[in-house]
Amino acid sequence: MIELSIQAIGLAAPGLPNWNEAAPVLRGEQPLLPTPLTPYAPQLLPPNERRRAQPSVRQAFRVAEEAVAGRDASQLATVFSSSDGDLAILHRICSAFAQNSSVVSPTDFHNSVHNAAAGYWGIGTGSRAPSTTLAGHDQSFAAGLLEAALQVSAQQQPVLLVVFDVPAPEPLLQARIMACAASCALLLAPRTDDTQALATLQLQLSADAETILTDPALEAQRHGNPALRGLPLLRAVARREAGRVVLPCSGHRNLAVNLEF
């Protein structure tokens, strides 16, 4: 059993543009209107990098910046998790190869690594703290939450979890269907810091089936992007509903999360 607390949340998906606006929708007080997200410029990046930032990095920064707003992120360890990283870059590179070119843009190449968003976050915040990036396909949310929780538990320090994915361009989109761009960040901390906590969590691997959402629009969102597989957890936090949710986790086990308030 791993125990920790959620200190802050960032969320960005169609109709759920940030945590404050998403919470009433998750509580069922407002319907989900899947309004597309407005463009976002990462605030913590230097102007040059901000202008050039690729879509996946913008999607990750959007929620990471929301989750650490008003706090010092310069010592903060991070866990990033994403199924696909940035397939638009892979598309450009592979399209060129298919045309018998061997030219790769140097910027595209260094931005093609799965940990590009984490690297830019380190540059933006100046944090030399450890940073891990995971890939968990559709189970990237729970895989990231588990790794972040293990780090909180091992180090007794806060960890920022950032889960993000953006749809691929065609023709890759046909081979990797994804309905929308979305991301979610949780600022996690040891349970002893829980005076400010939004919720306290206990995690355990489980063979139980994953929790589904009864609202069909939210359930569709949950399937629309790997970052949104965490919606049952976020819904429980928004409703301050103690109890248990089960999230699809990487490999052969799901992740059961007990919430207390």
Partner: protein
Amino acid sequence: MKPLRLTGLTATSALGRGLDAHWQALQQGRSGLQQKTFDRCTLPCWIGEVEGLVQPLQGDWAPWDCRNNRLATLALDQDGFRETVATAVARHGADRVAVFVGTSTSGTLSTEHAYRDADPDSGRLPDTYLYRTTHNPHAAAEFVRLQLGLENVAIAVCTACSSSAKVFAAASRALDAGLCDAAVVGGVDSLCLTTLNGFNSLQLISPEICRPADAQRKGISIGEAAGFALLERDAPSGSLALLGYGESSDAYHMSAPDPEGRGAQQAMRDALARAGLTAAAVGYVNLHGTATPANDSSEDQAIVSVFGTETPCSSTKGYTGHTLGAAGILEAVIALLAVQHGFLPAAITTREKDPALRGNILLQPLRREIRAALTNSFGFGGNNASLLLGRAP
């Protein structure tokens, strides 16, 4: 941390299949790098290619067929590794053995080929192309889990060239928290056009064989590799073990290291602190040592600040090439061979040490009994990991 016992260990690279092939090559000073082309890449360069990856995966494994997974299978077949894992399963249960695999490329070559074979009119990718199982980075971990019949988590760590060093840290935390009783850790990275042409675009590919720390070094040679270890709690005194790990970020640049190596220093100091060892207790450092002027200079400063100028160091990239996401596990294996055999490998392709570098770079192998070795792995995005491996106290 308490040392974690390494109950299984294997590696496959351009040096050959299994631990003995690696030990022989290190002893003989034989490089696996060759001047050759790969696929459609005709760059003048040296490549560390693994032989024998031509046979497609068959039957139930056919949907997983890609160069990366073929390489994983080949590596799992060596050194009785599958049997060692089966023994751990018998001891703990399949649901108590987790998988942590590092990869950078995963199956990128599959997508390169799918684009080449796309319908010329519609642009549609071939129906035979399966993204989830043959390209997505998580496939590298899930494939290993399925191959070994394990029923715990399968986590893919993707921090570029530090990926398969970071897996030791992740597995250590999972064991510590009781998430599992044993963990398969490792890495798989395979050749593709993206990395060869991509590093070339950054002007980092050497036209000669890579020469880490050499005054005339001209950059990296790319290789491919896979390797695995099985980690369990309670290392008996004298057994080979993971003694510590350290992780840090550079917070400096996406593809260039901090010139002063501050992030690298932090990772090494973190590993020493976690192991409860002083720098003097470390008998050998296997350097990240890519042979780019920037890496070797930055790492040297970090090494000198942590270990001084006496601790024997070498990069073994001249044997295997830079195996990117597999470099962490491959060089962990080499560091463990150094401890096991009391043999510290030389930087075989290095002719004349760069006089600006102050570390004790081995140009000749050294026979010396040591109890602990450190290995560095640094990746794009400024991602650093150091592992301390050796005999449990």
